[in-house]
Amino acid sequence: MLLKGQAGWYKDAIIYQVHVRSFSDSNGDGIGDFQGLAQRLDYVQELGVTAIWVMPFCPSPLRDDGYDISDYRSVHPSYGTLEDFKAFLSGAHDRGIRVIIEMVANHTSDQHPWFLESRASRDNPKRDWYVWSDTDTGYRGTRIIFLDTEMSNWAWDPISKSYYWHRFFSHQPDLNYDNPAVREEMWNAMKFWLELGVDGFRLDAVPYLIEREGTSCENLPETHEVIRELRKKVDDHFPGAMLLAEANQWPADLRPYFGDGDEFHMAFHFPLMPRMFMGLRLEDRKPITEILQQTPEIPASCQWCLFLRNHDELTLEMVTDIERDYMYDLYARDKAMRLNLGIRRRLAPLLDNDRRRIELMNGMLMSLPGTPIIYYGDEIGMGDNIYLGDRHGVRTPMQWSGGWNGGFSTADPESLYSPPILNPVYGYPAVNVLSQKRSEHSLLSWMKHIIQIRRSSPVFGSGSIEFLYPANHRVLAYVRQLGKETVLVVNNLSSAAQAVELDLRRYKGNILIEMFGRNVFPRIGDLPYLLTIGPFQFYWFRLRRI
């Protein structure tokens, strides 16, 4: 049932991240569902993306938007049935679109039957499926991730009168991966979905699978053993399926998650994302080039996943204090925009709805080494609602049209799972798919164009990168190369026009062909190649020897 194609498909993929609940409501109950998602597949196909990452949709009390699963082998009733999921999967594959789903492997909901059994008594057979303790003093060296809500990584269970370990919310007890039965059962859950035909998993919160006293309980060797075991099973039984790691770590700590090509196929590059925003505000390439210099080589079969925004806050865990303060001051002056160690805002509001900056950031997303992920709604410049609490403000209904509920649902507006964005700038009457489809100069049309160009060359997905360091630090320039194909990317991070001289002598004799307009630029000679580039503009040049 896997979509046929070459191995390593994920390296050339462009991924579209959607939440079933937020995308399209087919039955008018105010909540998005799989039938609705399936009905919108033509739109996803037109956008040009090659894969969909569907956020958690399994049964759940939804106290963490589905990242608190209570049944790993079913579909939450609000989103439809397993049959609906299969129909969606089939529809996606028919259109050449792969489907990646979530595997929330680190923890379950406290309503999961496993946990209910585990807490029932100290001698329950499933007692050892979670991490229990008589005290709350273990693993002291472990940081608390949700600083705004949690005081400890231990929570008291009044039923079994002991403490259980949780790295996230206290209603999300961590599974005990030292227990082989847990590992086997999680593999069975993954096998269930792979047999249905899904193309890959995003594994949530992977650094925290194993705990050891005297450590930070993150990135432990034993965790890597669990991953290698899982990967082998995937390769043995479902070759071509992809595993994507969510590990919010520094590049050097992330590198082991690729192993020798025998752990994850892909991993999110978390530290790059805030530095792209930082570089844009500083008008200085330094944060971007520095973090990419610190990024180690990964096995040829592996790939970074790049993103600008997603369903979570713009995480600032992987930045220094001075950088975090800067980011808060520049991007989240209103304290309501901040959550944990991050900023809960969408792309367009972060960039003051400045079309030039939105395009530049997407241009970098599409041209830096890695597989880009587009968060639903960012392709039309959707806004956010920072007053909705937690991260709900960036998970509002997709804006399809200027009509009733923005075309998301026929339900009464009051019954929607979340109020749609209504303000005059970002509200659905102003920002929606229908109106943007009618304009060839809309952000949506531009996004389709850049995706098309990105897909026109494998150099972006699989090519090498070499940074040029022109003396003008406001210009970020790099050469992507794969085989005989060479692409020069020049980004102006400044709000002012810039002149830049590029040392392209090693490409002497080539002419530059600008990939968006296909215009020819002068041939490269011995002298530094002088370019002038407008505010927040970028160029992609294909080099041709002709």
Partner: protein, 421 residues
């Protein structure tokens, strides 16, 4: 013939790469390899600690160094600072250098820096001396913050000096500038200062750059421009200042400073002639006392140089000084060190008579300034004798008295200025 450009194409190319800045740090170097590294390191640390978010560029104007001073400046990486101070640089910091001549000319160097500040739209421009070996990182913010945050246009330094350092400033430049322009700026001829982008641009566009004395004493012209224009001036306490290396060449220093000050009087007469008394300028930071180190000065030699000068230059003095002043100087020249006294009011009259003669160009202006040198030595001897056993407060009291004499006698300056003789 092609018009000669202040900025070379290569320097212009470097400026394009620096781009717009918030703060421009200027250096004027000439064979400063022995001292430049701690200066650069302090500046970089100051940037990281106090202005981590601001766009800063370091621009060096070099007068033909043979000791690789520019290379040391350009090659100093801000990332090296991290390993010492553990402060992380958010931004790229450009350090660029241009060679404006084969021999140093402070005015041209300053003009180059101001042109860079103007082109890069710097909100604040701060200039540091390349031989300020006592510089601390926080000097940067002490000078820049008043401009950057509080909209001052000129921030002049106040140093923690040794007891007998800065004699030329204390005996002539400060009291004279204060009496003429009515503001109490302690370092009117500062090698370190900060100015606003507005003042930098305005001063850059002044015609006076064509005048040699203006180029030589550009700093004092800058101070005067700030005091006489619609600019906000303040002072900021820095710290200990090591003796300027060049201070030993007294004649050159006098030409550069006193000559420039006299020159400014010509063009600014309408502005200063109506001013009487003086007012304080805002002074920021914590004042530190003078360092009470014993003076190692050959007083006998000073007296001899004074006496010889008075004797040998008598024909010159006759065209510069009044009868009464000259005869009084001749009397003092006969005194032994133990009873030597060149009184403050006589010194003020002497200086004013020199200024008026300079204005009238009774002889070559350069010769007038040079002729003042032996007299200044006599006044310095009195300054040393007066303050030999004095405390910091005593020195300050004597200085205030001297300034009072300059202010009180300012009508005398107007009188001799207008005198057609």
């Amino acid at each position: 013939m092609a018009e000669e450009m202040l900025l070379t194409d290569d320097f212009l190319r470097q400026l394009i790469n620096v781009g717009e800045v918030d703060i421009l740090v200027g250096l004027r170097t000439h064979n400063n390899a022995n001292t430049i590294e701690p200066v650069i390191r302090a500046i970089q640390t100051g940037i990281l600690q106090c202005f981590p978010r601001e766009r800063v560029g370091i621009v060096n104007a070099d007068g033909g160094s043979q000791d690789k001073t520019p290379e040391l400046i350009v090659g100093a990486s801000i990332d090296d600072v991290w390993s010492v101070s553990k402060v992380y640089a958010l931004r790229t910091l450009h350090s660029i250098s241009t060679r404006y001549a084969t021999s140093p000319e402070p005015g041209t160097a300053l003009r180059t820096i101001l042109a860079a500040a103007d082109l890069l739209h710097a909100k604040a421009c701060v200039v540091f001396s390349p031989d300020s070996t006592t510089i601390e990182p926080d000097w940067l913010q002490r000078l820049v913050r008043p401009v950057y945050n509080d909209n001052f246009d000129l921030v002049s330094p106040i140093y923690r000096r040794q007891k007998f350092e800065g004699a030329l400033i204390q005996n002539l430049l400060y009291p004279m500038t204060r009496a003429i322009y009515g503001y109490r700026v302690r370092e009117p001829y500062a090698s370190e200062f900060a100015i606003s982008g507005r003042l930098a641009s305005d001063f850059l566009n002044k015609e006076s750059w064509n005048d040699e004395s203006s180029r030589l004493g550009a700093e004092i012209h800058l101070t005067v421009a700030a005091l006489t224009g619609t600019y906000r001036v303040c002072q900021s306490f820095l710290g200990s200042k090591a003796q300027d290396r060049g201070a030993s060449d007294l004649v050159a220093a006098m030409r550069r400073t006193v000559g420039a000050l006299f020159s400014s009087l010509d063009s600014d007469f309408p502005l200063w002639s109506t001013i009487s008394g003086s007012q304080l300028v805002p002074t920021l930071g914590a004042q530190s006392e003078v360092v009470m180190e014993p003076a190692r000065v050959n007083r006998k030699r000073l007296r001899e140089m004074f006496a010889t000068g008075v004797a040998q230059l008598e024909p010159v003095f006759r065209s510069i000084l009044s009868e009464s002043t000259l005869s009084e100087l001749q009397r003092i020249a006969t005194l032994e060190v133990s009873e030597f006294n060149y009184p403050a009011d006589l010194w003020a009259k002497t200086v004013f008579e020199f200024a008026a003669s300079y204005h009238k160009s009774v002889i070559s202006r350069d010769h007038i300034v040079q002729a003042l040198v032996p007299l200044y030595r006599g006044r310095t001897l009195t300054f040393l004798l007066e303050n030999r056993d004095g405390s910091g407060e005593d020195i300050e009291r004597n200085l205030e008295s001297l300034c009072g004499d300059f202010e009180r006698l300012k009508p005398y300056l107007l009188e001799v200025w207008a005198d057609r003789k």
